[in-house]
């Protein structure tokens, strides 16, 4: 076998004799140092980073941040914290039931969008889609859906169905579904082609392969995305509350408006506790399912 060139032409690349190999000669930096990678292959990343820097500087410049105001505000921080720390359990029952309203809205939105999103992700994942032309169309459509924030969707739905949690659930489901479709599609596409090939070789069809190979392989990452999405749904349900949609967000904005910071703090702590418990719950579940 060749490839084990004993001794041989080891000195050639450095020796005085001229280079005979045209393919892949040793590339040098401008200062004569040896390059460890072909710059032509990493040009894309470099251009991206430079653009990033330019856009970042441009954003800083146009924003025209008022640093003096920012510095002045720093002295207010201790007072604000002191206010918040005077915890006040006034109307705790109202705060607590408001928390549950927010949780219910985000759970429902997550479930609806999970089902729809997963169904659509199957058609969007290039390795399993039944129609080759469908993924780009779906992908463009979901990008459009995601471009509009969930709060705006809720406001649009409000116009159609009127006030109430229904508008919140539907509005949040739309953007959340688009998020699920994209993330799950990526999970499905990451499943190794070798595994799919093996099942195909056994005579399994696409549906069988999806349920018996792709879904189990992608399960833990699907779980991670679901937890992230649920968290963001909870967050947007709170934001919706502050603009009048009910739930615990409304309690916070209402209390802040009445300067009862202690009561607002109780609501904030409840949100914190809930988010943390959910996080632990998902982590434990994921560990078990490994």
């Amino acid at each position: 076998m060749e490839g084990i060139v004993v001794g041989g032409n080891r000195q050639n690349i450095f020796g005085p004799e001229p280079e005979e190999k045209q393919s892949s000669p040793v590339l040098l930096h401008r200062d004569g140092k040896i390059r460890t990678a072909d710059p032509a292959k990493s040009r894309g990343i470099k251009i991206f980073l430079i653009l990033f820097l330019i856009v970042g500087c441009g954003a800083m410049y146009t924003m025209n941040l008022d640093w003096a105001q920012l510095a002045g505000g720093i002295s207010q921080i201790p007072a604000a914290i002191a206010n918040l720390c005077e915890i006040d359990f006034y109307q705790f029952d109202v705060t607590f039931s408001a928390l549950f309203e927010s949780i219910a809205v985000s759970i429902l939105a997550t479930i609806y969008s999970l089902i729809l999103g997963m169904f659509l992700a199957v058609f969007m994942a290039r390795n399993i889609t039944p129609f080759r032309w469908l993924p780009p169309i779906l992908s463009a459509f979901f990008t459009f859906l995601r471009a509009i924030p969930s709060t705006i969707w809720v406001l649009l739905i409000l116009v159609c169905v009127g006030f109430g949690p229904t508008a919140g659930i539907i509005g949040m489901s739309i953007s959340s579904m688009a998020f699920f479709a994209k993330s799950m599609c990526q999970c499905f596409e990451e499943v190794s082609n070798d595994t799919i090939e093996a099942l195909k070789a056994m005579g399994a069809g696409k549906i069988k392969i999806f349920f018996r190979a792709i879904l189990p392989s992608a399960f833990t990452s699907l779980l991670a995305w679901t937890s992230i999405n649920f968290e963001s749904n909870f967050e947007s349900s709170i934001i919706l509350g502050t603009v009048g949609g009910g739930g615990i967000g409304y309690v916070v904005s209402n209390c802040m408006g009445r300067y009862s910071y202690g009561q607002a703090m109780v609501a904030i702590l409840l949100m914190l506790a809930f988010t943390y418990i959910m996080e632990i719950g998902f982590t434990v579940f994921k560990e078990r399912k490994k």
Partner: protein, 262 residues
């Protein structure tokens, strides 16, 4: 011959499970020792105890005058590991990086953190890497992405990467298990050649008994976590193979005769 590594009564338990029960053997400078044994006999565990990727439960491992089984500080472990090269069954390269960069990874253990983060390899290291790449026959592919190479080529990069460390000891964990016979031969030839030329002590885990007999200076047979054979390949007879693999030779030879590599 000068002994570089001496393992004494190595033991590794995972709770109740006995991965390695009682393993003792030594390796000399420039000697190629092949460990054979059925799957689950503890071959990989023994290798990984030597560079302390796994912490042994009991026993001593003498390497360059110190009992490395007793090391605890992260600093000492790192200093130990850079003296020991390792070659893996599934190559374990960074496939997005160039072949050249992958080989240079062998120097990471010797560099300052700052230089490593910035990828500032010294010109001396680079020249050494090029020399190694030339030696293993990949000189024309140094800027290729490691992921674009064939299996055999990837393993050659693995060898070059390990040799970049200037190791005193080379650990090869099933280096040819995912390769075709032709590539397997190239890889085994190169491992043997480097061991002899550079006087590195080398331990290779293998599945293939015939390959072991061809390349080994000495064979260590492990059965259920214990050494049952430790001698020159010529002494490894059929009865011994049956004992190591706990299987009649007829059933084993089907694979052995047909799978001849050399």
């Amino acid at each position: 011959m000068e002994s570089i590594l001496r393992i004494e009564h190595l033991r590794k338990y995972y709770g109740e499970t006995k991965a390695v029960e009682d393993v003792s053997f030594s390796v000399n400078k420039g000697e190629l020792v092949v460990i054979i044994g059925p799957s689950g006999a503890g071959k990989s565990t023994v290798l990984r105890c030597i560079n302390r990727m796994i912490d042994p439960t009991d026993g001593s491992i003498w390497f360059e005058g110190a009992d490395i089984a007793k090391l605890t500080s992260e600093k000492e472990l790192k200093a130990l590991r850079r003296r020991i090269g390792m070659i893996f069954q599934s190559f374990n390269l960074v496939y997005r990086l160039s072949v050249f960069q992958n080989v240079l990874h062998g120097r990471l253990g010797y560099m300052s953190t700052m230089d490593a983060v910035l990828g500032k390899y010294s010109e001396e290291d680079k020249r050494k890497a090029l020399e190694l790449l030339d030696m293993i026959g990949l000189k024309d592919m140094i800027y290729k992405r490691a992921g674009d190479l064939s299996g055999g080529q990837k393993q050659r990069v693995g060898i070059a990467r390990a040799l970049m460390q200037d190791p005193a000891l080379l650990l090869c964990d099933e280096p040819i298990a995912s390769l075709d016979p032709a590539s397997s031969k190239i890889i085994m030839d190169q491992i043997q050649k480097m061991t002899k030329e550079r006087e590195i002590a080398c331990i290779v885990n293998l599945h293939q008994v015939d390959v072991a007999k061809t390349y080994a200076d000495r064979i260590v047979g492990i059965h259920k976590g214990e050494v049952v054979f430790d001698d020159v390949p010529e002494k490894l007879d059929e009865a011994m193979i049956e004992k190591i693999y706990e299987m009649p030779i007829q059933e084993l030879t089907v694979g052995l005769e047909k799978g001849k590599v050399s």
